[in-house]
């Protein structure tokens, strides 16, 4: 990996990481998108996407809401894909690296969320003293600083990644590979569990069963769109009935899991 590639990668990663702030959460952060950038820069889009797809699944349920803890899936998935492509060891190697990164980077995020509160105080003071024009510039300055911080940290990771890839490229013994494979499978189950935790409500269990059995027992006769359409129809029917019965007041169970 050349130094130019590393800088490009760090830029792309910082870009994807910051879309939540700069572009209103338009989902550049998803591993399928980040791995595409990695593939473009390292010249292997198809394999990068295959790795990205696996990260997407592990982290399917990671959301910035509800009872679910946050993980920096962007940086984790991004750097994991880089390692996988560099070492030629596939998803298992990528995961080994990406999991600690996603947790470490979340610490950085928590730290920034506190530290950058300094700028909030500054803005309050400015307004108090009648300086109205600096709100946007102070806010944007802080935001740019955060991108630079992300860029720098990722670049440091990338500089270290060559050595890591080298070590991994010698391959694993079979037991280690099987073990990592198993760990990856269970972690993808955790991703879906997080998704359930966001949405689960006892009254919604029957609908979960419908979706699950339709997919599991028909041998993929339906795809996502087909089953989604059935789900839409069910939701629609429920809406019509509940609406006719009394304007929805029948739905007493307010779902607190959704609250931010």
């Amino acid at each position: 990996m050349s130094i130019v590639q590393m800088v490009l990668l760090a830029l792309a990663c910082a870009f994807c990481r910051m879309e939540g702030g700069w572009f209103g959460e338009c989902k550049f952060r998803q591993p399928i998108v980040t791995s595409f950038f990695v593939g473009l820069i390292l010249g292997d889009v198809p394999n990068a996407l295959k790795i990205g797809a696996q990260f997407e699944m592990i982290w399917m349920g990671v959301a910035g809401i509800g009872p679910v803890a946050h993980l920096d899936v962007t940086t984790g998935g991004f750097l994991g894909t880089v390692i996988a492509l560099q070492s030629g060891q596939g998803f298992e190697a990528a995961m080994l690296f990406a999991l600690p990164v996603s947790m470490l980077m979340q610490f950085l995020e928590s730290f920034s969320n506190s530290a950058f509160g300094y700028f909030d105080v500054k803005i309050d003071n400015d307004v108090e003293h009648g300086v109205f024009t600096k709100i946007k510039s102070t806010f944007l300055f802080a935001a740019v600083l955060r991108v630079v911080l992300e860029f720098t940290v990722v670049l440091v990771f990338l500089l270290a990644s060559n050595a890591i890839s080298q070590a991994l490229s010698n391959g694993f013994p079979a037991w280690l590979e099987n073990g990592l494979g198993g760990a990856g499978k269970l972690l993808s189950a955790y991703g879906f569990a997080m998704l359930l935790a966001i949405m689960m409500d006892k009254e919604l269990i029957p609908f979960f069963i419908i979706g699950y059995t339709l997919a599991a027992f028909t041998g993929r006769a339906y795809n996502m769109i087909g089953i989604g359409a059935i789900g839409l129809a069910l939701a629609w029917i429920y809406f019509l009935i509940a609406d006719k019965l009394g304007g929805g007041k029948a739905v007493a169970a307010a779902d607190d899991g959704w609250e931010d």
């Binding site: 939540g20 209103g24 998803q30 595409f36 889009v45 797809a53 997407e56 699944m57 959301a63 993980l71 999991l99 969320n113 950058f116 509160g117 009648g130 109205f132 709100i135 806010f139 944007l140 935001a143 037991w175 198993g182 760990a183 499978k185 269970l186 955790y190 879906f192 569990a193 997080m194 998704l195 359930l196 935790a197 949405m199 689960m200 919604l204 609908f207 979960f208 419908i210 979706g211 699950y212 997919a215 027992f217 041998g219 795809n223 996502m224 789900g231 069910l234 939701a235 809406f239 509940a242 609406d243 009394g246 304007g247 929805g248 739905v251 169970a253 779902d255 959704w258 609250e259 931010d260």
Partner: protein, 275 residues
């Protein structure tokens, strides 16, 4: 059509377009102190300046909208629209207006609106976007990221624009009616139905956990997974998802759960029970 949205305060369509775009920046410096508060303020700052020409009043307006704010971002322009409408009303009634009401309305709408927003954007649209893109990505098809971004962002952009418009034009009455009639909860619940059907489908389709163990009995190969499939296809994914779900419900931290599942998976994988 007139270029002016609000003639008396000289607010044009251009101002609203600017507000729409600035709204995307709302979390650029997300902090624990104000959360999206400053971002909210800069999105409507230029419009506040037009409404409040007097510096002292403008200052108070800015301070009102620098208050901590936090909600699902996609429908947040609705509250921007409502805030603009209320500020205009405040000026009209000047000085007899209950200014506290502006932030009270903002705070009271954040919760329910986030509820509906999360249900739709995280529970349905994000799920659908990831799910549709996954199939392409697994085959290494470079169209995958574009599918994901398009499926997510078309509703995202439309929601942002129309909620800003509805928020300004119909104001609190719109949401108030929805909430009082119970329709907002009903809508959230129905989004939950669709979300759960999709989640069930996705677990069966995309979470592939198998048991690769095989026995040879009297020269006949015996594959455990085949037997499992005959009884209950995709059983293992369901078992492990529910296991993970239980750990979450026990209030365990995500770091701990990740560690537990990684360890259990590693051991099971080593003995080829899971793969």
């Amino acid at each position: 059509m007139s270029e002016y949205i609000s003639e008396k305060n000289n607010i044009t369509k251009k101002d609203f377009i600017k507000c729409f775009w600035l709204g995307f920046l709302m979390q650029a410096n997300f902090t624990y102190a104000k959360m999206q508060g400053v971002g909210f303020c800069i999105a409507i700052q230029h419009i506040l300046r037009k409404i409040w020409t007097n510096d002292e009043d403008y200052k108070h307006a800015l301070q009102r909208h620098l208050a901590p704010f936090n909600m699902t971002v996609a429908p947040s322009p609705l509250i921007m629209g409502i805030s603009i409408a209320m500020e205009e009303q405040a000026k009209e009634d000047y000085p007899d207006y209950d200014y506290e009401a502006i932030n009270a309305v903002k705070v009271s709408l954040m919760g329910p609106l986030s509820g509906v927003g999360d249900a739709f954007f995280w529970g349905i649209i994000k799920l659908l976007a990831s799910g549709l893109a996954l199939g392409f990505a697994q085959n290494g098809n470079p169209i995958a990221p574009f599918v994901l971004l398009a499926v997510f962002n078309i509703p995202n952009f439309l929601t942002r624009w129309y909620t800003l418009k509805i928020g300004y034009e119909r104001g609190q009455s719109f949401l108030g009616e929805l909430e009082q009639s119970g329709k907002l909860q009903l809508l959230t619940y129905c989004a939950g139905i669709l979300g759960m059907v999709s989640a069930g489908c996705m677990i069966a389709m995309w979470c592939s956990i198998n048991c690769p163990l095989t026995f040879t009995v009297n020269d006949a190969e015996f594959v455990i997974q085949d037997t499992l499939d005959e009884i209950f296809p995709c059983l293992l994914p369901l078992v492990f998802v529910l296991f993970g779900y239980n750990l979450i419900k026990k209030g365990m931290s995500s770091g701990k759960i990740t560690l537990i599942l990684a360890l259990v998976g590693f051991v099971l994988g080593m003995f080829k029970l899971v793969g």
